[in-house]
């Protein structure tokens, strides 16, 4: 009983004669920087600075033994989360990332107190202290974690995108992963299905140059990560991840493409982490000069500060912003330090949702 074949999509990518790679990059090259209003510029500055100060404080609390286990700081990479997430439709779109997740949560405007309290393992933490630095979620914001297994969030993000498509809610999924995760097999399994089914997803490689202690050139045969979607007919974009305006502009182009139902985009944001892979990494695999050079010449916050000053903001105004942010972060740290630990009775809650 032969049945007529029923394809998932009327036309598979392989049958599309119009397909051309890097078409998005061409459009991006035409105008690489987002034309932000002065209000937006200030907002980007404040948000990036909040991440920076929060992470510095987290590093300090770790040093004091208030934060345990693994703690991966986002310092240096702030422009990526802010540039991309500022372009999202907060009511519809979802975000998922790996274990270096504090910045992505702060980019949503989630209260720094509940994030810091999770880092210190307190009851008031966003996961009631049961998740920790690597496992934080906010379903209210459609932020789906916070995942500790390198690369797992890419396939899970594919599932979130499938849910957007299934529910026809018009949303897209933004799935972040690092240059290290880019060598996991499941990333490519997901690329294949995402392209085949035209899932609404933007894959973002945050290329911070080191997979833990291994420089990209020592672990990756193809270090131009944006090219890695080619085999799956996913258009790639190469973006300076140290420039929030460039990231935002790339987000505009990528999101438009995806929202038009044209399938996934692979975006590589070249960035740099100033600190070690985690707090326990002495980062001996690179020179101090290399790090200093990045801080001196590529820093995303200093870069934006320059623009703000050119636009007539005074040093004092910017200093006042910093002061306010330090205060917010200090309050978050105090809250996180003084909140009680979870009750012992929380040990067995939330293992399962239902009772059997």
């Amino acid at each position: 009983m032969a049945k007529p074949p029923k394809n998932k999509t009327p036309q598979s990518p392989a049958e599309n004669p119009e397909f051309a790679l890097h078409s998005l990059q061409k459009e991006f090259e035409k105008s690489k920087r987002y034309d932000a209003s002065s209000e937006q510029l200030r907002q980007f500055y404040e948000q990036m600075l909040l991440i920076r100060r929060f992470e510095e404080r987290a590093g300090q609390l770790y040093g004091l033994g208030l934060i345990g286990g693994f703690c991966h700081l986002y310092i240096g990479q702030e422009a990526v989360a802010i540039g991309l997430q500022s372009a999202l439709d907060g009511d519809k779109d979802s975000v998922i990332t790996g274990y270096r997740d504090h910045g992505h949560m702060l980019a949503y405007g989630i209260d720094p107190k509940v994030i810091m309290a999770e880092l210190t393992g307190r009851e008031a933490g966003i996961s009631k202290g049961k998740g920790g630095s690597m496992h934080m979620f906010s379903t209210e914001h459609k932020f789906y974690g916070g995942h500790g297994i390198v690369g797992a969030q890419v396939a899970l993000g594919g599932g979130l995108a499938l849910a957007h498509q299934y529910n026809e809610d018009g949303g897209l999924c933004l799935a972040y992963f690092g240059d290290g995760a880019a060598n996991q097999g499941q990333v490519y399994e997901t690329f294949n299905m995402a392209s085949l089914w035209k899932l609404p997803i933007v894959f973002v490689v945050e290329n911070n140059q080191y997979a833990m202690g291994t420089a990209v050139g020592r672990s990756s045969a193809e270090t131009e990560f944006y090219r890695r979607g080619t085999a799956f007919r996913i258009p790639g974009m190469k973006v300076n991840g140290m420039d929030v305006l460039e990231v935002r502009q790339a987000a505009e182009i990528a999101f438009k493409h995806v929202r038009e139902g044209r399938g996934p985009v692979l975006m590589e944001c070249e960035t740099y982490r100033y600190r070690g892979h985690s707090m326990s990494d002495p980062a001996k695999y690179r020179t101090r000069e290399e790090v200093q050079d990045m801080k001196d010449h590529k820093d995303p916050i200093e870069g934006l500060k320059k623009i703000l000053i050119e636009q007539g903001n005074s040093e004092d105004e910017l200093k006042a912003i910093d002061k306010d942010i330090r205060k917010v972060v200090s309050e978050a740290a105090d809250f996180a330090e003084n909140s009680p630990e979870p009750e012992a009775s929380e040990l067995y809650t939330d293992v399962l949702v239902e009772e059997y």
Binding site: R122, I126, K128, H135, T139, A155, L162, Y166, N192, Y348
Partner: protein, 459 residues
């Protein structure tokens, strides 16, 4: 205000270290990010960066000092507006113990006390008198369960290899594509890790995926998502993020397919908190429990058996045949010995019980049906009655469900035992291909009969 600089913890396990070198001296201006000292841990020498700005007013721990405890104040920093010379060690606050917040006074209690009591009393719903009993295969029962739940809830969909156009590698999804269309019956490429992750993510995103593995042998490629992504999500998120996904497919030995295609994963998944694991035997349980699994808010591993797919059983024709998860079923009542079993071995146990009856031994047969959470009560109640217990499991004996039942009987049923609890499992070898060796390796009825007679001291 003066800022205390404390000995940092530079790794998750560091408790103390050596202050190898001060790179800044008293009176030096410090900006955030400056390396102020080198600290040796048991693993490495680490650079210690300043977080705050100011003037290094006082060094309290000299370089070369060994065994400096984490949290010890090693120096003081004066802020912009104060005179560095005003800062003295006397102004220092009392040092907190490392690793502790200011949450003194919390009562610690035994973890076990906090464990909630298991909800009991869930029983199979009564089948109304006069209900027609249809004869259906397990394969049809599973298909009907999925179809009924897909009609009931728009969020339910099936994905997997060959589930749609091919109508299922084992024909369990036969007809679903025609009724529900390609949006809800999705053929995937051969990419278990990837589609298990996509299914799990879709559940996080609010859908109700049924992820079919052609067999659970291939799910080993995907086990990370089943355990790390699905099982742990609700707990890690403090109850915020649910993952109502069903992973189903045939499990355990089929026939002559060799070692890589013949393994029972029941014990693997049943060891993981956060998962529900179901392994039914007959058509009625297959249907009723699969429907329950699809409605369940928790992630479920649903283990079927290829050799049982084609077997026919009686099934009550009800509008909505849903059975309770976590409840074993006594499939044959008896008083002399209990045979605990699940999945395909239930059939072997029933045959064994019939043979034992011929020899005057009245065996009670329990089908566990759910492997996690395990229905201890039903097992222990039966043990109280028979005082002898055998476990029949088609799977390896080591770290098995059988081992778990033995442990439960030892810990909670010891006083009722008149003989050692005995495991009857497969042999502890990869399953061989040769017909004679395969037969030797697998559990069979004579082995169960022998074990039951042994615990009854009858030979």
């Amino acid at each position: 205000m003066a800022i205390e600089i404390k000995m940092p913890a530079l790794s998750p396990t560091m408790e103390e270290g050596t202050l190898a070198k001060w790179l800044k001296q008293e009176g030096d201006e410090i900006t955030a990010g400056d390396i102020i000292a080198e600290i040796e841990t048991d693993k490495a020498t680490m650079e210690f960066e300043a977080v705050d700005e100011g003037t290094l007013s006082k060094i309290l721990v000299p370089e070369g000092a060994e065994n400096v405890a984490v949290g010890t104040i090693i120096a003081m920093l004066a802020g912009e507006d104060e005179d560095a010379s005003d800062i003295t060690a006397e102004t220092l606050a009392t040092n907190d113990a490392s690793g502790e917040g200011k949450d003194v006074g919390r009562e610690s209690s035994e973890a076990e006390i906090t464990k909630p009591a298991k909800k009991s009393g869930a029983t199979d719903p009564e089948v109304p008198h006069g209900t027609n009993m249809a004869t259906v295969t397990v394969r049809e029962a599973l298909r009907d369960a999925m179809a009924e739940e897909m009609r009931r809830d728009e969020r339910v969909f099936v994905m997997g290899e060959e589930v749609a156009q091919y109508q299922g590698a084992y024909k369990v999804t036969q007809g679903l594509l025609d009724e529900f269309g390609p949006k809800r019956v999705i053929d995937t490429p051969i990419t278990e890790y990837g589609f298990a992750g996509i299914g799990t993510g879709a559940a996080m995103g609010g859908l109700r995926p049924i992820v079919e593995f052609m067999t659970f042998n291939f799910a080993m490629q995907a086990i990370d998502h089943i355990i790390n992504s699905a099982a742990k999500t609700n707990y890690m998120s403090g109850g915020q993020m649910r993952c109502p996904v069903v992973f189903r497919g045939p499990n355990a030995a089929a026939s002559r397919v060799g070692a890589q295609h013949s393994q029972n994963y029941g014990p693997w998944y049943a060891s993981v908190p956060g998962l529900i694991v179901i392994a039914p035997y007959d058509a009625s349980d297959a249907k009723g429990l699969l429907k329950a699994a699809i409605r369940c808010e928790d992630p479920v591993v649903f283990l079927e058996n290829e050799l049982v797919y084609g077997r026919s059983f009686e099934l009550p024709e009800l509008d909505d045949h849903v059975l309770p998860i976590g409840k074993a079923r006594i499939v044959r009542e008896g008083s002399d010995v209990t045979i605990v079993s699940y999945s395909i071995a239930v059939g072997l146990a029933l045959k064994a019980a019939a043979e034992l009856a011929d020899e005057g031994i009245d065996a009670e047969v329990i089908d566990l049906r759910t492997l996690r959470p395990l229905d201890k009560e039903t097992v222990l109640e039966s043990l109280k009655k028979t005082n002898r217990l055998v476990i029949a499991e088609e799977g390896w004996p080591t770290c098995s469900i059988a081992s778990e039942i033995v442990a439960i009987c030892m810990e909670e049923g010891f006083d009722h035992l008149d003989a050692p609890v005995t495991r009857v499992c497969d042999e502890d070898v990869p399953l061989p291909y040769a017909a004679n060796l395969e037969k030797l390796a697998l559990i069979d009825t004579p082995k169960i009969v022998k074990a039951a007679k042994k615990v009854c001291y009858r030979d």
